[in-house]
């Protein structure tokens, strides 16, 4: 029997209550620990970096109620097996600047795909969660099939984080001239 998939509805402006309750100010919910605070445990081998950025709407205003989730391979190119959540994390963006920051390890390439972090974006006004990817400007991205499928070089660059020391910057634009490429996975 085939059943129709449930329709998506916006996460709304109060997503933090359910997904990052400590961030939302619900004292001691889940022991005061928001799920996904750490993408990897601190002893995970690899090159540790910071990825940070901001998220904007079509008029360049910060999307202050967004929540981002990240899912990535480790430094050997492996995604966590069933039963594991290493490589996954989430952030509520800052309520004023719509900024986020995560500490993680650089993923390795997986098959013919260049190293990347999968990102899922939800917010008030976003009816269906948006998938995108963070690539790295230090990596060899030439053969990556997703980047190769984007004809416009300016749009392709919307998926590539730029390095500044140990920090990579990756901004997300939901709409407009700088619109990020979003994926139908």
């Amino acid at each position: 029997m085939t059943r129709f998939q449930s329709a998506s509805q916006t996460a709304g402006p109060y997503v933090h209550i359910g997904c990052t309750p400590s961030f939302a100010g619900l004292e001691n919910m889940y022991g005061g620990h928001d799920l996904g605070a750490d993408i990897f445990s601190p002893d995970t081998p690899g090159t540790w970096v910071t990825v940070s950025g901001r998220i904007f709407d079509g008029e360049g205003m910060p999307v202050t109620d967004a929540m981002l989730e990240f899912w990535q391979a480790d430094s050997f190119g492996h995604y966590a097996p069933q039963g594991g959540s290493e490589g996954w994390g989430r952030r509520a963006v800052d309520a004023q600047a719509a900024s986020y920051s995560v500490n993680t390890i650089l993923p390795a390439a997986v098959g013919d795909e260049a190293p990347h972090i999968n990102v899922w974006v939800v917010a008030r006004g976003v009816n269906l969660g948006l998938h995108t990817r963070i690539y790295f400007d230090c990596a060899d991205n030439e053969q990556d099939p997703v980047l190769a499928a984007i004809d416009d070089p300016a749009r392709r660059s919307s998926l590539i984080a730029t390095r500044d020391g140990d920090t990579y910057n990756f901004d997300i634009h939901l709409q407009g001239d700088k619109e990020t490429v979003f994926l139908n996975v």
């Binding site: 029997m1 085939t2 059943r3 129709f4 998939q5 449930s6 329709a7 998506s8 509805q9 916006t10 996460a11 402006p13 109060y14 997503v15 209550i17 359910g18 997904c19 309750p21 939302a24 100010g25 619900l26 919910m29 889940y30 799920l35 079509g58 205003m61 109620d65 899912w71 995604y79 966590a80 097996p81 069933q82 039963g83 594991g84 490589g87 996954w88 997986v110 098959g111 795909e113 999968n118 899922w120 939800v122 008030r124 006004g125 976003v126 009816n127 269906l128 969660g129 997703v146 499928a149 749009r155 939901l174 709409q175 619109e179 990020t180 490429v181 979003f182 994926l183 139908n184 996975v185």
Partner: protein, 231 residues
Amino acid sequence: MSLQPQALTPDYRSSRLRSPSHKLLSLAPGAGELTGPTFGHDLIGPNDNNLIINYAAPGQAAIGEQIMVHGHLLDGNARPVSNALLEFWQANAGGRYRHKKDGYLSPLDPNFGGCGRTITDADGYYSFRTVRPGPYPWPNGGNDWRPAHIHFSCFGVGWAQRLITQMYFEGDPHIPLCPIVQTIADPQAIDSLTARLDMAHTEPMNFRAFRFDVILRGKVSTLFENKLEGN
């Protein structure tokens, strides 16, 4: 007709500047889409799935109509999705969220946080106890009221199945009036987000039960058959 809402739905004003104008780029699912984070049952505390008491002072309870919400998490082929994390959030019985951005005049309930979670069992079954949330007004340009609803965050087996949606209650007159509900064009798809009163599981003199199943996209092997329609 698309089962999923379009990105740009002007009657829901917040979508106007937050909807991508380019078509989504389709890609063949790879390792990153077919795998996803999964969590152990040891993550869940004993009261995580009881919103009536999980934020209440000892011996206290949240105010409101006592209900149980239960059902199955399934994939597009009606197979159970076991061991999957479900997270819930909602307004209190008066329609007020415990959130600094909610300034509705209806008061907070000191014993209600509005946050819960559980992990599906081997049959994909879940349940949680809560109070029925109230409807509330919201700024959308008119006299807009949200139908009573509970937000669901659902993990599946693969990253491509990640879903956030909302559960409504059978018979709520605000469902056809709500611009957020009406971002979904297909009436059947709206109907499938509407929980049904379940007298068979309603406990006399205790709580009413509502049944709500969530259907994720197809399991790993069938994701290709369940491609989202592009928007």
